[in-house]
Amino acid sequence: MHIAVILRLVPDLSDELDLSEDGKSIDREWVGITLNEFDEQSLEEAVLLKEASDAKVTALALAGEGVERMLQGALARGADAAVMLEGEGEDHLDSRAAAPIFAEAIRTCGADLVLTGVQTIEDLFGQLAPYLGSLLDWPHVSAVSGVALDQGHIVVRQEYSGGRQARIEVALPAVIGVQTASRPPRYVSASKLKEAMLSGRLTAQAAAATPLPNRAEVLGLAPPDRSAGATMIGDDPDEAAAAILEALSARGLLAG
């Protein structure tokens, strides 16, 4: 089995999000970037599957700032190969625009299972995994928290609201949108990262594909209206604690 894991960098939400000059996107020049947390989960799940079988894991990503380092991190975590897809034009593509490029790369690399994060914090025009499922005409399941191999097919656990779940058997090839790995993502040591950097297992290849037409456009981004929000009680811990306890007491919310 050959597993392709698709990895994406997204703005780090612990940073302030500044807007570009036209107000239609995030100013990526200054904001910190981080591996999409659900992609990190999908990478972990791929490596767990590799450890439980003889699967090969290839990490795929569109070229861009910080991507080489991210892919080296994927190698250090247990991916066998990493491929940076170099396209033409825009630096940042949304999931809808990126899907045909990834679909082409998946066909080329011969993967029969695709794992990627169920979503990103910015996929306004739709999530990657279901686009890939349709473009490849492979079965697809999203919101998955655990993938297991079972005699030539996979069994996934799909989560629903209210804590309900289902176990679904899926024939390969397939595309899975991963929410949570079967185990928390592993820690990667600096020595493993260094080893990965020197391994030569990171390659680059040209990538292109016919885009999906998109008749939608962003008019602008803005922070939400905060006028109806919380009463703020200051940031002195003793005063804040006293104010909280007083509010709870007044509402009869303190036990005893």
Binding site: L17, G163, A166, P184, P223, A230, I233, P237, A241
Partner: protein
């Protein structure tokens, strides 16, 4: 005349609340001149039809494979209903099924798509849509031309406005739908495993988020929960990291809770979390980031360091008269 097609979801034996919200959205988008159609896939759809009076017509698919939610069957039916009725707008919920179906239907039927929709207004030959992005930190205004899929946030539309009795026309999709060889099957549906805990029944909850930092710090929050007579709960990153069991997860892929007190520590308040707790009666939020969306739904908030606040709260509670 605007035509809207709605994907209906089941919850147990009945119709999911979010589906009525979608029907409310559909009626609003369609306007008095337009029409609303729905797609209902169920073992036996007939007894559910009278609840779908917000729709003029309901496409149905029934039978053994239709009983439990099966992603590929729903996608095939969505694509078929879309091809048959050629709607201007297709509505799906931002739910697990919606995540499977929205983009896949868009790609299969050549539709544009706007996700995380909070509201939508008609503009000429299309919609102007407001969506929550970046964990609820930014709203995106966008415009999309018909035909398009909208994936709608739970809670964005009034459920009651879509919950209308009636007798919609029924069209069986099986008449035209050629189902290919199945490539997936449901092995089992698993009920929530509380492991003896049911946080939905707790009157008070202390919820820890990513800001709690590490597993060891959860003990401090647990101590506070004990002093408040509250149960401990966690947001998704905390559960995914293995710091608290799944049964204690609040939010989209966890539990929906409505306690009298919801004290959250280091929870940023992504839309997926708010979906599970914004109806709590009294919400106290502690987060160092003053821009965290949790402060939009909280009643009382502070940006002080939670590790300074926790001992102060514990001390205050211990020194209360009668303790």
């Amino acid at each position: 005349m605007t035509k809207v097609l709605v994907h209906i979801e089941l919850e147990g034996e009945g119709l999911a609340g979010v589906s009525f919200q979608l029907l409310a959205a559909a009626r609003r988008i369609a306007g008095p001149e337009g029409s609303v159609e729905a797609l209902l896939i169920a073992a036996d759809p007939t007894p559910l039809l009278p609840s779908l009076g917000a729709a003029e017509r309901v496409f149905t698919l029934s039978g053994e494979r239709a009983g439990d939610y099966l992603p590929e069957l729903h996608l095939q039916a969505m694509a078929e209903a879309t091809r048959r009725t050629r709607p201007d707008v297709v509505l799906t919920a931002y739910s697990s099924a919606g995540l499977d179906l929205a983009a896949a239907t868009a790609a299969a039927c050549d539709l544009s798509l706007i996700a995380y929709c909070q509201s939508a207004e008609r503009v000429e030959a299309g919609l102007r849509v407001s969506s929550q992005l970046y964990g609820g930190r930014l709203l995106a205004q966008s415009e999309v031309a018909f035909p398009a899929v909208l994936s709608v946030m739970p809670g964005a539309y009034d459920e009651a406005a879509g919950r209308l009795a009636g007798s919609p026309e029924q069209s069986d999709l099986a008449d035209s739908l050629q189902l290919p060889e199945p490539r997936m099957r449901v092995i089992e549906v698993i009920a929530p495993d509380g492991g003896g805990i049911d946080i939905t029944k707790a009157e008070s909850l202390v919820c820890v988020g990513r800001g709690i930092g590490d597993a060891d710090s959860i003990a401090e929050a647990e101590e506070l929960a004990g002093l408040l007579g509250a149960e401990i709960a966690g947001s998704r990153p905390v559960i995914d990291a293995g710091w608290l069991p799944k049964a204690r997860q609040v939010g989209k892929s966890g539990m929906k809770v409505k306690p009298k007190l919801y004290l959250c520590l280091g929870v940023s308040g992504a839309p997926e979390h708010l979906e599970g707790m914004s109806d709590a009666e009294f919400i106290v939020a502690v987060n160092k980031d003053s821009a965290a969306p949790i402060f939009e739904v909280a009643h009382l908030g502070t940006t002080c360091d939670l590790f300074d606040l926790l001992p102060a709260l514990a001390e205050g509670l211990k020194s209360r008269p009668g303790q």
